[in-house]
Subunit: 385 residues, 4 copies
């Protein structure tokens, strides 16, 4: 048995998220980067590939070239899947090219530039029968898995209220005018789409709420806006939520909350108990009760569920972090590929990776959140697609 | 100079909030309880008075009797102010009787049963020229004072976003059916008014947001409801806010958030910095910055403002709690009475006690929050009264 | 039934600990300050008494005068006990005078200047049959009571290890040279005795360890020293401990730990579970287990022991602080006086106040800690007296 | 440029620490596992190698075979260094074989079974001129680097006191009798050496104290013992420390502190400020001051030192964990190898990896801690070797 072979589109010199994908894929020693089209600038792509210790023949000047050439290699040498880490507006085109060339796809989030693209992508995935993964990395934490299990088993009772918040502070000034590239493209409708903050982080919050609760957002009342003068896209938003079981909720996403780092936090209250999890202290999950002491659950402890344990590498008290959560998604996706290749059904752990339905759901959330905010009507439906 | 003389209406055997007022008033050895009408049941009132070491002659069977008799005592013996700790629906009548009899009033919150009553009360206060205090106790904490100062000095810049939340869990079951009196009357429209949760705790959250920020809520988009089946009043609510400077906000109040105790918390983000304060750890105030380390400010430290220091009794590291915060309001109110009696202007510290304008503002908030929730329009104005 | 009548020696204008005693005594509206000798300067004593609203006839120029005069008053008017809040080196003389005049004594800590004095005081208490209380205030916190109960019931198993630490930072500079009176007298052997830090705060840590665990320190290996140049008394100390059941421990006390406020913390590990309590967050008690989630116990919750509940005033989520803990000792001591006067046995709650045995034990701890530190032998016994 | 080629001795199926080394080495995509002798059982070694996707020819039945064969491979194919992850008592023999065969060594901690072996190893390293790294992983955390920098720059002033503690609870029962292999060998003098707890975790605490402070422990007064009946090696220990600049300290290590996970924490107090870092929340470093608010420093923030930043992969708010800290040591060691191969001086970052001097120092600490505990003399010197 050999390592799973990965190609990468994007992620050249100086790019950030490409490195995260490479670290996450490498961690478990089960996936190997074998080729890449790291930049649309051929020289830059070549330099990036060399720095990554790739043979020059496997470093391409464009994703089109990569798909065409890799297809011609022997099956035991060609890449098996493509990791897409380009800017948002190109996700769809690259994914389409990969799928049409017969390669599985692991895409950075958001899946596409628009809901329409996401719906087309879903058709294409169905048509090709290939695998598709989406890196909603926060769903990879062991204690997020545990939270999901505790809800699923009914331990907290019927879910009544969900408060999910995601404050950051890094867009509180006019960073887009001072050469911060991350800020520039995220605030540019041509590259980011119809939303900055909701598209960048609000969608993570929504995904987490649905992933842990097992519920779906059915209605929204949204107030998004650019808080910093001169911007056209939202840098802050608050949304009242209703879920498909009648539960209520609040989602707060902000990139102008000065001093906040990456403070994703979720609280879910059932009629029997509540839970509380924060991404910045990811190895702790709080369970709260009215008549018993609050419990602090910790990654790696023997009382956790199988799903949490299967997503944990180190013994309790040895903190797992963001890269391990990210790697858990890659581990699951690799499991799907191996199952596919061996003709087996993937197990539950392999299936526990966001996929094409999450891609569609995320884009629907973004588009409807913006529409809800623009509406003078109080409540706006978020339909199933 | 002698102690300030206080009478009390309500707060007999078994009542809770009456004891809090007595402890708070007694703490600084500057206010003396001299009389009371502790219950509308004469025997119960008498027993309560005896347990409080009052002479029988100063324990009355009704507040009407108390007002009538105390008025006839020599000015250096009669009570100087009345503490009102009865259920909400009687606040107005007792306050009116006290003011008409010439006594200052310190009232538990909410001030009245309705906005109309609050407006009438304001007229009466103006007409009599007497003093009126309202125990929004959370405004009494030293670090809340500090937070207010930090905003006032502009250190955090222009306020852009306020998130204030107040989750409790004690009404998550059907406590009103199992003999919990607090639950029964708060969920009974005849005694509590048009709202349970917003009237009980949401109004504290709103007061705190306005007190610290120095801003006023101008618009609301509210979603209140009884979450537990069989109730007619709200036990949970979330409100999107807009403030009079254009800042945005979210207010969450809930009494069905299982496992939460009394978790009032406020975060305010200006364009330069953010702050974060939690009532359950009241001696810590966090200041957050994008380019500098987060700062942990602590009660009693030398770098705090004069207003915070003036509301602190013990050295740093000796925790001050809820009763000390409550006592700070009594200390301020006593200062107003002393200033009045000596013909001086009260100083800033004495004036720093919620009063009749806060009473009106609170009742307006409650009524408009309920109206906003009942409206299908997205935004509802909260006018000035 | 009337209030308990308290006299005070010390605590005049500008003194700190006197105010703490008055606040603590006043809080429950059950004790009344009726007289005082607030300073050995007659004018200062008079001014202090006036500010406290006392009639001039009950404000004395010396404690000797106070004892003599109060004794002659009718029994229903004279003070019932004396609160001693003078500097350490006078505690014994005042207590002796009070006891000989027939008054109960509530003394600030440490009880005396030396172990010899404490032993004499114990004889005097026995001889007079009067009541004696000592304000080891940290033993008054509800969650300290809870911790004690959890050990007593055996829930944590046999105690194996105790780590108690008490770092402060306020003596890290040469405060004694810059007019800080607290620093000056505590570092002066004439006024403070043979130890600064161990006598001031180390003794609190030792008391807490013994109070919660129900064990006694039997051996010590100590390293005390003045860390700041120019001092003769210790400002820092670490002590290895052995307890009378064989358990081991560490006690760390320091007043040169820059940036620490008043960070008393204790951890106790039995063979079944562990506990962790910190004075700066006093309403939380952690219970830790190897096979179950850590539990966070909180003041005011229904699952707590009777002893904790009896020492709690406000509902859960309304923080109790240092003054409430202090007041719990006064409440207990008042209960002892009432029981005595009515010829009953005091109940368990009233008896739960440090007394003359704690006074002797504390002075023994201080003297033996200093001796242990001065010894070149590794282990030094702490005998029973 | 190609990846650095690593061989591994130990770490076969079911072993734990081998996996940690492989993850840490793989993370940065700069080191490749090319061969291994994973078990002294040839079949087990083969199966382990296959699971790791190694070609059968590079999976060896013994470390002796591995050294012999690899030496014969072309220099651009043979391994460049050996990672040693066998049980402690074999570390020396494997390291010796590797060095004599011309391979650099990265060893798990502790370096050897005894101080004598460590001294021999140091001679061998000097003789061969090869590189030696030791995985004191906690020194790899970014905020530990920051702490070291803050001390080095003098920001906290002269160090006066160090409190380092490392409580765990997993040996609180008789785990060695119930099939827990980790417990069995660590408590067996034949495999673990003269100490269990001090050798396993106390040495980490000592290393961290010296690494951050830049000081050296010069004297110890130790109390180590088996707390659980039936053991011969220590499972708990407390040590009073003196450092070479006169600073005092306390080191507490315990594996019977029920409910503690892996709670390594260090506090260092200088005459200007204090710092506080905990391994279980590794991305936060607290700086404490007497006259300014406590500061919370966070991994990834722009105000950190170059050394901290160079050891950070993800943006602030994306938690880095234990594996990233471990990987930082591998990254540094790989840097040393690259520098050696290119004939350059390694930069400061590459040199920032524990090495042979730390190996000797650690073994000296263990042996002298045990001797100090066995001594009846109070203070015992820890010499330089």
């Amino acid at each position: 048995m050999t390592k799973i072979r990965m190609g990468m589109v994007g992620g050249g010199e100086g790019a950030f998220i490409g490195a995260v994908h490479r670290w996450a894929a490498a961690l478990d020693c089960d996936i190997e980067l074998v080729c890449g089209a790291f930049s649309s600038d051929a020289d830059r792509s070549a330099r990036s590939g060399a720095a990554l210790h790739l043979p020059p023949a496997r470093v391409y000047a464009s994703y089109q070239e990569m798909m065409a050439r890799e297809k011609t290699l022997p099956t035991d040498q060609r890449m098996q899947f493509v990791a897409i880490v380009t800017p948002n507006h190109t996700h769809f085109a690259v994914a389409e090219a990969a799928l049409r060339a017969g390669f599985h796809v692991m895409s950075d989030k958001p899946a596409t530039f628009s809901l329409d693209e996401a719906l087309s992508l879903r058709e294409l995935v169905a048509e090709t029968g290939l695998l598709y993964g989406l890196t909603h990395a926060y769903a990879g934490y062991p204690m997020v898995k545990e939270a999901r299990q505790r809800i699923a088993t009914g331990e907290l009772g019927n879910v009544r209220k969900i408060v999910v918040e995601y404050p950051q502070g890094w867009l509180a000034g006019r960073e887009e005018e001072s050469g911060n590239k991350q800020a520039s493209w995220r605030l540019d409708p041509q590259q980011a789409g119809i939303s900055c903050t909701i598209g960048d982080i609000g969608v993570h919050a929504a995904h987490l709420a649905e992933y842990i609760s097992g519920l779906q957002i059915s209605e929204m009342c949204a107030d998004l806006a650019p808080v910093v003068a001169g911007r056209t896209l939202d840098d802050d938003g608050s949304i009242l939520l209703r879920f498909n079981n009648g539960a209520k909720g609040v989602l707060i996403a902000s990139q102008v909350s000065v001093g906040e780092e990456n403070n994703l936090r979720i609280r879910i209250y059932g009629d029997q108990g509540g839970l509380d999890w924060s991404q910045q202290e990811p190895n702790t999950l709080w369970l709260k009760w009215n008549d018993r002491p609050t419990q602090m659950l910790r990654t790696g402890m023997p009382y956790l569920s199988e799903l949490a344990t299967a997503n944990t590498r180190t013994p309790n008290g040895h903190p797992e972090g963001y890269l391990e959560a990210f790697a858990n998604l890659y581990m699951a996706f690799a499991g799907q590929i191996r199952a596919r290749e061996s003709g087996c059904q993937p197990d539950a752990r392999a299936m526990d990776c966001p996929g094409i339905e999450d891609a569609v759901r995320g884009m629907a959330f973004i588009e409807h959140a913006v529409a809800a905010s623009n509406s003078e009507k109080k409540w706006h439906s978020l339909p199933q697609y």
